[in-house]
């Protein structure tokens, strides 16, 4: 390497990888620790699944009347078991900014490349995990709830048993994106404004929610709020989550642009 015999930057510019490769390097950085990105979510998922199967089996074994079993199956449709997986993704989103951002900046990454690389990672991971969940949901439906009439993947919130695979995939995908980006953006507020930022944001959020509740209550609009949720259904609500997801992705970028990592 004969670099540095000439003006440093000119020389380095020749073998400087392009912007795309900077962004790709950030993606690889997010995925370099495969254990916490891939293994842990599947371990959580497997744990939840085993517990659920045990519960289904208990119900199945203790309820012999076919009508009662039907009843139980209807109830299982509302399984929230997948929620934990999404919470873990929220945590990964937070950690990607709380830990990986200061590290990446130490590796001379620009904030812009970091955020674009992170967004690309979130999208890729969301697509991957959604595809896996879609396959599992199809198996669940095909085996009539793993032979026990249980529901975990094809739950009511993700379109129920009758949804098409593409609809399910879309709903999982939107949910993953929401938790990744919201987690990451919350963490950008901390990176930029530390504790004061968190206090202000959550304080403001609380006030806005109280104001919203007051507004709805005083105008007697609760029925129309209920009607909105009713007409959209869980799937519609998840689809609407793309709006806050996109807002989070954009504000996160601008917040991070002026953030300095500190301890």
């Amino acid at each position: 390497m004969s670099n540095l015999t000439q003006p440093a930057l000119d020389e380095a510019r020749i073998d400087r990888p392009g912007r795309a490769s900077n962004i790709l390097a950030v993606v690889r950085l997010h995925l370099v620790n495969r254990y916490s990105v891939f293994a842990v979510p599947w371990m959580i998922m497997a744990g939840i699944f085993v517990v659920n199967v045990a519960i289904w089996w208990i119900i199945f074994a203790s309820v012999s009347n076919e009508a009662d079993r039907m009843d139980a199956r209807d109830g299982l449709e509302y399984s929230g078991a997948l929620f934990y997986i999404f919470v873990y993704m929220l945590v990964l989103g937070i950690q990607s900014v709380a830990y990986t951002f200061p590290f990446a900046l130490g590796f001379s990454v620009t904030r812009r490349d970091f955020w674009l690389g992170s967004a690309l990672t979130f999208i890729a991971l969301s697509a991957f995990f959604s595809a896996c969940l879609t396959v599992l949901a199809s198996i669940e439906v095909a085996t009539h709830g793993w032979g026990l009439g249980g529901t975990m993947f094809a739950s009511f919130y993700f379109g129920g048993a009758d949804a098409s695979w593409i609809e399910r995939f879309g709903l999982y995908f939107a949910s993953y994106l929401f938790f990744y980006f919201v987690g990451a953006t919350i963490a950008t507020i901390y990176q930029r404004w530390r504790n004061n930022g968190m206090l202000v944001v959550f304080g403001t959020l609380g006030l806005v929610m109280i104001a919203g509740i007051a507004l709805v209550s005083f105008t007697n609009s609760w029925p129309s709020v209920g009607a909105w949720f009713d007409s959209n259904g869980p799937s519609g609500v998840i689809a609407w989550s793309l709006v806050p997801t996109v807002i989070a992705a954009i504000t996160g970028y601008f917040i991070l642009r002026r953030a300095t990592p500190k301890n």
């Binding site: 440093a8 380095a12 690889r28 916490s36 950690q95 990986t100 200061p102 130490g106 001379s108 620009t110």
Partner: protein, 301 residues
């Protein structure tokens, strides 16, 4: 043209504290600079400003002739190792060394392997579980193996033992010889690195006190030792940097002496000894008389 770093009237304020106060200097290519100063003097903030991690309140920074902030072309050529570097949760050292080449185009994997062996760094232990010294070793290895044209080390060896520190100095000089680059090193262990440094920047309370060639600086102050009367009559009319005494003996540090001064001191039976870089920095930044100390050095320069 060969200035790698150019800073003019740089100021950084946090609320009512001024971490960096109207600082101007430049750093020549392929030199090893020492950035010295007490805790909280503004060293880390200055380095964060130079590497685009922090934002200037006022003033100009040029790294390789360009603004460093969000400039990936400049930053690709910069490596900033800081004592307080955070690592992603559950990272192991091997994750750091696997990913480093993706970010530093000049990364030398062989050198990294050698340094890992030198520092006896366990690659498969979680970083959270490493000792303070092992944590520092990661930074030192990245800083050396990245071979960035401009490398910053901010207190790189907290917790490293004497052997490991010597390894760091040796490897730095060795690699610097083969692959010249610009190094800016901030440290408290001034005497240990004083032979390494070609140029010294001393910062105190955000202000740049000294920006000088290390060689010149070493001769810029002298300690005069002898009887109280002898010393007193010798230093009359001179700016005194430091004074201490026991009984009838006195030891006084003064600015640069001319050969005539030295001859006269010898005639008077006084002993002259050079002041180490560390002592000099201690004397310059230890008291609140920094303004008078500064004038001495300016006169002596």
């Amino acid at each position: 043209m060969s200035a790698v770093v150019e800073v003019s009237h740089l100021t950084r304020r946090f609320g009512d504290t001024t971490a960096v106060d109207d600082v101007s200097f430049s750093v020549q290519k392929n030199t090893i600079h020492g950035l010295l100063g007490r805790n909280g003097a503004g060293k880390t903030t200055l380095m964060q400003l130079l590497t685009g991690q922090d934002f200037a309140t006022r003033g100009e920074i040029r790294i390789f002739g360009e603004h460093p902030v969000e400039n990936s072309g400049v930053l690709k050529n910069v490596c900033f190792i800081k004592e307080s570097q955070r690592y992603p949760d559950d990272f192991k050292p091997r994750h750091v060394f696997t990913s480093a080449p993706w970010f530093f185009p000049n990364w030398d994997a062989d050198l990294a392997d050698r340094l890992i062996a030198d520092f006896r760094l366990p690659l498969n232990r979680r970083i959270k579980k490493l000792s303070r010294g092992q944590l520092s070793a990661i930074g030192v290895i990245v800083g050396l193996a990245s071979r960035a044209p401009l490398t910053f080390f901010d207190e790189p060896y907290l917790g490293l033992d004497a052997v490991a520190r010597q390894t760091f100095y040796d490897r730095l000089l060795e690699d610097f010889g083969e692959h010249p680059r610009t190094v800016i090193l901030s440290t408290h262990l001034i005497d240990e690195v004083s032979n390494l440094l070609e140029h010294v920047l001393v910062i105190d309370e955000g202000k740049l006190l000294i920006d000088q060639d290390a060689e010149t600086l070493r001769g810029s102050a002298t300690t005069v030792v002898g009887t109280r009367q002898g010393v007193d009559s010798f230093v009359v009319g001179r700016e005194v940097l430091h004074r201490e005494g026991i009984g009838g003996l006195a030891s006084v540090t003064v600015g640069r002496l001319t050969p005539q001064d030295r001859a006269r001191a010898t005639e008077m039976g006084l002993e002259l000894s050079p002041v180490s870089l560390q002592q000099l920095v201690v004397r310059l930044t230890g008291s609140s008389r920094t303004s008078s100390s500064q004038t001495v050095l300016e006169q002596s320069a």
